[in-house]
Amino acid sequence: MATMSVTEQALNTYVRETGGWIASQLEACTRCGMCAEACHFYVATGNPEYTPIWKVELVRRAYEQRFTLIGKIKQALGFEKPVTDEDLRHWAELDYYACTMCNRCSMVCPMGIQLADLIHEARAGLFEAGLIPSDLKAALDKQIEEGSPLGADDETFDDRLEWIEDDWDVEFPMDKEGADVLLVFSSIEIMKFPDNLAAIAKILDAGGVNWTLSKEGREVTNFGLYAGSDELEMLIADRVIRAAKRLGVKRVVVSECGHAYDALRFRAANLRGEKLPFEVVHITQVIGELVESGRIKLKAGAFENGKVTFHDACKIQRRGGDFEQPREVLKILAGDRFVEMTPNREEAWCCGGGGGVIAIQDADEVRRAAFTIKIDQINAAGATTVAMTCSNCRLQFLDCVDHFNLNWNVTGLAQMVADALVEEG
């Protein structure tokens, strides 16, 4: 067969991956446009092309032209233009730059369409066509080759851990036989938030958890998911899954990283076509369990610095369900100085940095624009400290705090918990 055009490759991907799950949702859309008003990228910029369902347009066109009678009629009569390479390049910008897969739009949709998953489909085709943004591609390649998108290769990983062990006075058990729990970090934490690694180690030790790290499955970050490549997503997730199986752990604990949790907890088994022989939980849930069962004790009122609010991360809260644990912890730490943003929990506004967006330099402007919604929300709540359970959100917050000159303290929940641990006498 002659070499396929970019367009054919993308369209073939859409057609190949169409199942009832996707088709029925594409069929349900009435194009009411309400999803636009739920999208931080649209609301912040007013660009109608950022309407979530519009980001799925190519998938819809491919579906209709290939599978529906009316689509074929429309195409034959010339009502619907064929998809061009130029279209694909345009949609690559819409789908990679201006969507964090936060799925807030699905809640506003009268049909409840899972728009984030459909946009992920759109990315899948663009990836196959080679239209992934170059910096995202570079990070993905780096993760495939070196094991880490941010450069935490074997040597760097060891060096970082050694440094953290010395400076924070913690120990990282490595590939410990008989451990119950495998702890996996994100590359952001390893490279940018070393205090988070130390904090989580302290919490698990204080709670008497029998845990280990693994050299093979050291990083849970998954740029394959961002890219839209099921194949690479699986390849990356497999590193952790292999390590967990080899060590025979009961549980894999994902550190403060959102999309990695999504990939391992809610997608990996389905992509592999087999159930995972261990449980996948987020560190937020572990903290909740340890506090609730009294295995760790926190100093009530330990947080003394103004008001603190909690940012719901899309992959850990709205799409992960861990809503209450962080709130319980913050109530202990800050009492009535813990304030909620409005709206929150399932309805929370996304920070704008997820879905790989923060890794794409050309998306900086729209990413920071989306964050202005968060600024208004937090100012309205009167908080000066923002806690969260996702390091990708935290990176976005720190970048925007710097960019907009905000006088906020940005922190991770684990760090607050570690700082407030009461040593058992």
Partner: protein, 225 residues
């Protein structure tokens, strides 16, 4: 052909053809979508997916559109909520609880039911027509809707508008003699029945898929749909 011949044709053979086309067309689309196959979910759900789906339906039928799903979404989508909500409400009430329509259902199903008083149906129809006009204008002027709309979206509104308008004229004996307007009304319904399986007006069927998926997906992930 005089108006009464046309009327007989429209409500006779044409109507039954349109009805069959509608049923066959919708069945085709349903089986097509189901036939794509469904992957089994191998992840461990955080909450019951069935309960999540049921909750999604209850919420969307009873609460929406009277209480917005997401804080701020009412204010941001006033036209869609009010005109859209009113249009659907008026359409369902007039089509199922209008006396003349109930008689059509009775002739098809063999049993009837109590209906709303004519003045109520009349006002509902008028409200539905106005709501549809508002939706049409909104689609023409709203930048988001202009971006995402194709010809089919405007045609959908037009083809639903025609039976509503001719029905309203019919009850008020406006514009044309009764039989001629009756013929136009039934013809527009015949055409609508043919158009539905070819268009996205069919969302009333796929709604049950997407809403069930929505509820199950949120429950699977431990969130409330």
């Amino acid at each position: 052909m005089n108006p009464s011949d046309l009327m007989r044709l429209a409500r006779g053979p044409l109507f039954y053809f349109a009805l069959l086309f509608f049923i066959a067309g919708m069945l085709y689309r349903l089986t097509r979508v189901v036939g794509f196959g469904w992957k089994k979910d191998l992840t461990k759900p955080k909450k019951s997916k069935i309960a999540g789906s049921l909750l999604a339906f209850v919420k969307s039928v009873i609460i929406w559109p009277f209480i917005p799903r997401v804080e701020g979404s009412l204010k941001r989508n006033l036209v869609a909520y009010f005109a859209g909500g009113l249009f659907h409400l008026a359409l369902f009430l007039v089509v199922f609880l209008g006396a003349a329509h109930m008689l059509v259902w009775k002739s098809l199903l063999g049993f009837g039911w109590p209906t709303l008083p004519l003045p109520v149906v009349d006002w509902l129809a008028a409200a539905g027509i106005v709501a549809l006009l508002v939706l049409f204008i909104n689609r023409l002027v709203n930048p988001v809707l202009r971006t995402i709309s194709h010809a089919a979206e405007y045609l959908n509104l037009l083809f639903v508008f025609l039976p509503m308008l001719t029905g309203f004229f019919l009850t008020h004996h406006l514009l044309l003699p009764y039989e001629a307007m009756f013929a136009l009304h039934v013809l527009s319904v015949d055409w609508l029945l043919i158009w539905i399986p070819l268009s996205r007006i069919s969302h009333f069927v796929f709604y049950f898929f997407s809403k069930a998926i929505y509820g199950a997906e949120f429950a699977r992930r431990g969130a409330q749909p």
